[in-house]
């Protein structure tokens, strides 16, 4: 039994020796970028990273940039030049320059998914301006934590229903899916606010093919049954606040032609009126406004053959071989009927037509 303490001693010693064996770096010796900007410059990736730099009392935000043949190469170069190692594990937002988005970011996204360094939950955003100026403007206005951009898209913080919210894994899925494309938010740095939201980019096969505006993005979000709670709709007669939405779909596939009937049920609350509209007038006006907007957008999408709404999902009964041709053959033929049903849940503190 005398051996037990000896054994323990050996184990303890080896533990302390082992400890320094592979480089585990403490959190304060790692740089944790939150935003990553990617642009293409003559076959070289140009990487910008926004890194919060915790000082003893204050938090500062740094922007660093580097170019390289691949993203990892650029990050590696940066890591070598910086005093602490860069850890992409906490990247929350990936900003892709518009030019790169148009060219296609397929390899970029696959790379993110493969290395697992960047979380598949990171948001993908398209920047309407040059990445260089975007970041320098971002740095001027951003808060000391450096999480501004992330907060802008956070459902618990600054997100609003007309912003598309798409993560890396969703983009990756869209690249390999037959029936689904994604919309990425387009932003640029703003004058008074940090960020200007300009609508969404329609990404098909990893490539930006079309642009839609904020109002249309709202419809896409509603279509995906994301909550549109809190969006204000302005019409000629009145202004309403959306408080709830649900969708119903009916799909048929007859003679190689897909038909889809979608019904959007909206619950709204009355905010302001102009003149003395009746309950019914307000509803019809809202219904026509939304239906027209949807139809306009849908025509645009159909022309670009990008299925942002994921309509192909409703026709999964089509055989797999056929489904592969969904975007090119079936989708353009799709007959879509979009109906909006509005319920005015309440009229606020005043009676309608009372004033």
């Amino acid at each position: 039994m005398r051996t037990i303490p000896v054994k323990l001693l050996i184990i303890l010693c080896s533990v302390f020796l082992l400890n320094g064996c592979w480089d585990t770096k403490d959190i304060n010796h790692r740089s944790l970028p939150i935003v990553m900007g990617v642009a293409m410059e003559d076959d070289q990736y140009n990487i910008h990273l926004q890194i919060p730099d915790p000082g003893t009392d204050t938090m500062q935000v740094r922007i660093v940039s580097e170019t390289g043949e691949t993203v990892s190469k650029a990050v590696d170069k940066l890591s070598a030049d910086m005093e602490s190692r860069i850890d992409l594990l906490h990247v929350k937002v990936i900003v892709i320059e518009k030019e790169l988005a148009k060219e296609g970011g397929k390899d970029l996204i696959s790379g993110f998914m493969r290395a697992r360094e960047v979380s598949p939950k990171a948001l993908v955003v398209v920047s309407d301006e040059e990445i260089e100026s975007f970041f320098s403007n971002l740095n001027n206005t951003t808060d000391p934590q450096g999480t501004t951009l992330f907060d802008f898209f956070d459902k618990d913080a600054g997100w609003s229903p007309q912003i598309a919210l798409t993560r890396v894994w969703e983009v990756y899925r869209s690249i390999h899916s037959f029936t689904r494309d994604v919309a990425l938010p387009i932003i640029k740095s703003g004058d008074s606010t940090v960020i200007d939201h300009l609508g969404s980019a329609v990404i098909k096969n990893g490539r930006m093919v079309e642009r839609i505006d904020e109002e249309e993005t709202l419809l896409i979000n509603a279509f995906h049954e994301e909550s549109t709670h809190g969006k204000v709709e302005v019409m000629e007669e009145a202004t309403v606040l959306i408080v709830g939405n649900t969708m119903d779909h009916k799909s048929r596939y007859i003679d190689q032609v897909p038909y889809l009937n979608s019904q959007l049920h909206l619950k709204v609350v009355l905010l302001e009126t102009r003149g003395n509209p009746t309950d019914k007038e307000i509803r019809t006006s809202l219904e026509t406004q939304l239906t027209n907007r949807f139809n306009e957008m849908f025509t645009k999408l159909q022309e670009s053959k990008a299925d942002v709404l994921g309509l192909g999902q409703y026709f999964r009964e089509i055989p797999r071989e056929e489904l592969k041709k969904w975007r090119s053959e079936h989708y353009p033929k799709l007959k879509m009927e979009f109906e909006v049903h509005v319920v005015i849940r309440n009229e606020g503190q005043l009676k309608l037509g009372g004033d």
Binding site: W22, M113, R116, K155, S177, T179, E317
Partner: protein, 353 residues
Amino acid sequence: MDKSLHVVLMYLLVHLGLIFFLYPNDIISSSDEGQWLPIAIGLLFHFVLVWIYMKGLSFFPKQNIIHIYSEMGRGFAIFFLLPVFMYLMLVNIIGVRAYSEIITIIFLSNTPSWAIIILFLSISGYLAAKGVEVIFRTGILLALIFIPIIFFVSIASFQNVDWHYLFPLIDDDFHFMTTPSYMKSFSAFIGGFLFLGFTAPHLTYDRKKVLIAAALLIPFFVLAVYIPVLTFGQGTASRFMFPYIMTVDSTYINWLMFDRVTMFFILCLVTFIMLHLSLLLWMAYQIMNHWFPHQPFYSVLPFTIVIFITSIMIIDWKTVERLLWWNSFLQFYVLLTIPLSIYFIGRRRKGRT
């Protein structure tokens, strides 16, 4: 003493450890659509074999398969037990190596895999040296601590499910039967029940309860494949090494203080795997002990050293995959012959008396 709870929980843990890593990928890459069919066939195998095995064992109360075979004669015992022993060691080597590699792929990318192998082997070696009852009791504690986390994460993984991906439901050709990956997926279906024949006379159990446990596993077998498919679609899911883990990784839980719940999920499963490895080691020791009676310590230690050296020698994931493929033959041989032979020996003996 009746220890059904111990055995049932162990049965669940061992299988949970097997289900979530390699199996979803095997099934998804074996068939493009209607994955329920390969799952159902696999499960059918599972149930039939487990039933036959337990039925066969029930002819020999208080005897484990080593006793049963050695009663039939020395040659008989060697003929059946040597493959089992080889299988146990091979599964152990592959398991240790594969899971240490998985861990370095998924996280801990800086840690060398030999260090992880040491951790695996020292823990499971310690457990195996302590004996089967300790392994089973540890299983209960681990189940109490970790199963809630597994449940929580499995429920959270439904977050991004799109039910439309369920279709098409029917895959009319059975070509998946011939794919190598489907063969490999059987390590999840039939790789976990061998221990049922080793526990006697230390632990006895109620056969019905084990079958209930097997039934409880059905949803996990289905979910592990279907949640990735429903989240990503078959086209995308088939591109992942570990589809289920990718799915869990893509769930976003606002209110949790941790960002990557995946890690906890994976590691809980890894602890189950450690338990499984220790069980395999213990079974190997039992077979050794039958031929050369000795203290568990003297056989577990050399086993772990051998396993360590062999698994260090496997340098890349390709080799692991190849070993898995070779092992699936040995596995089929062992896991078909053992239950069937036990059953027939039992029937014959019963007929004689």
